[in-house]
């Protein structure tokens, strides 16, 4: 670690974040050191266009080491190549580039492709030269997250031409006897968002699967830049419907850390309570949804009934089924604790019904038999591709942000990071049940306490160029926000990383060797959000 710090050009500490700026040649080594030697987890990776501030682009790779409540953020500055006054014209290869981490740290693969699409910074030696976020119709050499980005006439014209003139996206081709391709989507039966799946199957057995997502990319990060910090909460709530509260809590936390605002005990308790209530209704819904995958209709219906009761509870307590409109920068906007009795009595009913449901599910051999050994995600793949949340814990990686980086009330609560070793659909279901019981006991513990203070602590001015991380453990896994202010205390850059962005790439590995009709079941067990990915 000392060696790493010695090589640093610049070190900056902010709460539990340590920004270590390194030279271009040391970037890969520094990250590799953390990944290999310290077993660090790559939390997120992003770029910032700081040309107006420091004259350079900055690439950040955020790591955290298990057992240490500290973020190590390796920063690399990239200067735009300057063409000498009488030198040769710049050519393609002179684009801004940075050393790709993907070969050593596979978890970086999507982040780097995203940076290339959004900033035009080229990850050198990245094994996959294709675009990730933007599809063929998006103009080439148009990089929306650059500060000087504008839609030019030629871009508009290119959009008008549509797909016809473009080089089509190349899916991975599998060749061999008896291999045939099954294209599925992007439009599916049922009410879900768009995503294309290209199966290469041998008979019914899946040999290879390539998902293609980002059909409804919403440009959320760019949109954040045009909002004030306060309005950003509304946007964060709408990134992914069923994780509304976790997203807005993470966003608020980032902004509060920038301001140096500390929440009151009461606000902390309420936020923790609502985070767990969000986890509760999601996990119940997911467990029920697995039954739709196996055709166990009664289990599905009963799961939906319990979920509905919890959502009605949300509505009654906060006025929103999806817990929206509660989070504020500096606290919460609603009184939660007067509803304690109602929450308790609903929990009693839900606990009883949930126990009955689990008895039914675990007692139905035909259901459990379908879940066992289906969609196995190995620990190695989960670690290498940076899976998060339930998907990681069901494969034996004890990563839970609530433990790893305690925030809000979590350091004062007694609970476990639930893991399973098997990595199959059943393991993911069992991790959810363990999490769920954990959430119920956390909610009860919080309701038993008495808390001091106001609901909202108020806000403070944000120092120029302040930046901070915000994070929560959402129902699907860890959620990260990195927010940076400009010279006047406005929003300069918001990077958000939803758990689905980490977990989508592991699905093809989990379904390999399974049969095509089992894909929906595997997919449901990960419960990934399209919207949380198409941000």
């Amino acid at each position: 670690m000392e060696k790493l710090l010695k090589k640093a050009i610049n070190i900056k500490d902010h709460l539990n974040e340590q920004y270590i700026e390194v030279a271009r040649d040391d970037f890969r080594d520094a990250c590799r050191y953390l990944w290999n030697e310290k077993d660090a987890i790559l939390r997120l990776m992003f770029a910032v266009d700081e040309r107006s501030i420091s004259g350079s682009f900055k690439v950040h790779a955020v790591f955290s080491i298990p057992g240490m409540d500290r973020f190590f953020i390796i920063v690399l500055s990239l200067q735009e190549p300057v063409r000498p006054a009488h030198g040769p014209e710049l050519v393609e290869g002179d684009d801004l580039s940075f050393p790709s981490l993907t070969v050593d740290i596979p978890a970086a693969h999507w982040y780097e492709r995203e940076i290339r699409d959004m900033f035009g910074l080229n990850p050198q030696d990245h094994p996959d030269p294709r675009r990730l976020v933007f599809h063929e119709s998006f103009p080439a050499r148009s990089y929306p997250l650059r500060k000087d980005w504008a839609i030019t006439d030629s871009d508009a014209k290119e959009w008008g031409e549509g797909m016809a003139e473009k080089e089509p996206y190349r899916f991975m081709q599998v060749e061999g006897e008896g291999i045939y391709e099954i294209p599925v989507g992007p439009v599916h039966a049922g009410i879900i968002e768009p995503g294309h799946f290209r199966f290469s199957a041998v008979g019914e057995t899946i040999f290879f699967l390539e998902p293609r997502l980002f059909y409804t990319h919403k440009g959320t990060e760019k949109l954040f830049e045009s909002f004030g910090f306060e309005d950003g909460v509304n946007l964060a709530e709408r990134v992914s419907g069923t994780s509304s509260f976790s997203h807005s809590a993470a966003y608020c936390m980032a902004v509060e850390r920038m301001m140096g605002v500390h929440l009151t005990e009461k606000a902390e308790a309420a936020r923790t309570l609502l985070l767990e209530m969000e986890r509760l209704y999601n996990h119940i819904g997911d467990i029920g949804n697995l039954c739709a995958g196996t055709g166990l209709t009664v289990g599905y219906a009963r799961g939906a009934v319990i979920k509905e009761k919890l959502m009605q509870l949300n509505q009654r307590v906060t006025g929103s089924r999806y817990l929206r409109g509660v989070n504020l920068i500096g606290g919460i906007s609603k009184e939660i604790f007067p509803h304690s009795d109602h929450i308790r009595s609903t929990l009693d009913i839900v606990t009883k019904e949930y126990k009955g449901l689990m008895k039914l599910l675990l007692g139905t051999v035909s259901h459990i038999e379908r879940l066992e050994n289906t969609g196995v995600l190995s620990r190695e793949i989960a670690r290498k591709l940076g899976a998060t949340g339930v998907s990681a814990r069901a494969s034996g990686i004890p990563d839970d942000i609530r433990h790893a980086h305690p925030h809000l009330f979590y350091d004062r609560l007694d609970f476990e990071a639930n893991t399973m070793a098997a990595g199959d659909v059943l393991a993911r279901m069992m991790v959810r049940t363990a999490d769920l019981e954990c959430s119920i006991s956390i909610i009860r513990t919080i309701l038993d306490g008495r808390y001091q203070g106001e609901n909202a602590a108020g806000t403070r001015a944000i120092p120029p160029f302040a930046a901070s991380l915000g994070y929560t453990e959402g129902p699907r896994g860890s959620i990260f926000y990195w927010v940076m202010a400009d010279h006047a205390g406005g929003v300069f850059r918001v990077k958000l990383r939803s758990p689905s962005f980490c977990n989508w790439p592991v699905v093809p590995f989990a379904v390999h060797g399974n049969i095509v009709p089992d894909f929906p079941l595997c997919n449901k067990s990960f419960n990934l959000s399209y919207s949380g990915c198409d941000m």
Partner: protein
């Protein structure tokens, strides 16, 4: 009048499907669609326009009519409320099974014809299931036919002597499994799923719309009721009229309706109490049933009952 008993199947089969749907909904704690919903669906589909893929051939357009017609012909061969009539000689079990198979053959062709992945998958799976189910059905029917001394369904129904004998119970168990597979129900297929990748029967007809789809659906309802009726004719003919007297027909009709409700209840219960089996384990289920069917034949030959 007895010649028109197939009209009962033609007209009441959507109601039976509505009844099963309603029962399933109640078992799930839902209100469910009204009993007459299948009729509304058919009326709605018949009044809609059809969307045909550019790559389809005549097979795609002809298949709904062939499937519907073959099911209709099969339903003329089965005694519904009386064994008298039924187009006499025509009511042969072997012909019955293969007339239905002709419909299935064209449905599978149509699934392939549109050139979509799901249609092809559905057809391939349907044929896999058919290969396993058809011999088993034949074996069950042979047991009944040998004991009755005739392959004519009406004669079997009249002379059914197997009631409650060991071979009868074995054959019936196997036949129930065959019916579940043939009607595309859980644990073999899931009729209510929207997951294209798991479909069998629904996969084959995924490209159909409007009146074509209506014919396919209607044929499927009829096939379901037809197989229920066949089960009753062969294994529980009790109460079926052997003449065409008005009173005995009326009595037989009541008994028939009760039998159908019983079968519907059985199907809804099976579907609600278990999950769909993994596709590659289907052969074990169906082979198990095949063994039962085979044992029933052996039992009959060795024990004579």
């Amino acid at each position: 009048m007895a010649y028109f008993q197939f009209l009962i199947i033609l007209l009441l089969s959507p109601l039976l499907n509505g009844f099963i749907k309603k029962l399933k909904a109640m078992m799930q704690g839902r209100v469910g669609p009204v009993l007459l919903q299948p009729y509304y669906d058919l009326i709605r589909l018949f009044s809609k326009e059809m969307v045909l893929s550019r790559v389809t051939s005549w097979i795609f357009k002809a298949a709904p009519f062939i499937v519907f017609a073959s099911t209709l012909v099969a339903s003329m061969m089965v005694p519904v409320i009386t064994t008298d009539s039924s187009f006499g000689m025509m009511g042969d079990v072997i012909a019955f099974i293969y007339i239905l198979a002709a419909g299935r053959f064209f449905m599978a062709l149509a699934g392939l014809d549109a050139g979509t992945a799901f249609g092809g998958e559905g057809s391939s799976r349907e044929m896999t299931v058919a290969i396993l189910v058809e011999p088993m059905m034949m074996l069950c029917l042979f047991t009944a036919a040998i004991s009755a001394g005739s392959t004519n369904i009406a004669r079997i129904a009249e002379t059914q002597r197997l009631l409650y004998s060991p071979s009868h119970i074995l054959a019936l168990s196997a036949f129930i499994v065959a019916i579940i597979a043939e009607t595309g129900r859980i644990p073999v297929d899931n009729p209510d799923t929207h997951l294209e990748l798991t479909m069998i029967h629904e996969g084959m007809i995924l490209e159909y719309s409007g009146p074509h789809l209506a014919l396919m659906e209607w044929a499927h309802y009829m096939k379901q009721m037809l197989l229920f009726t066949l089960t009753m004719d062969i294994f529980f003919p009790l109460g079926i009229a052997t003449d065409t007297g008005l009173f005995s027909l009326a009595f037989s009709l009541v008994i028939f309706i009760l039998k159908m409700l019983l079968m519907g209840f059985l199907m809804a219960w099976v579907e609600s109490s278990r999950a769909k089996i993994r596709f590659f384990q289907l052969p074990s289920l169906l082979e198990g049933a095949f063994v039962l069917a085979f044992l029933s034949l052996l039992t009959y030959i060795m024990m004579g009952k």
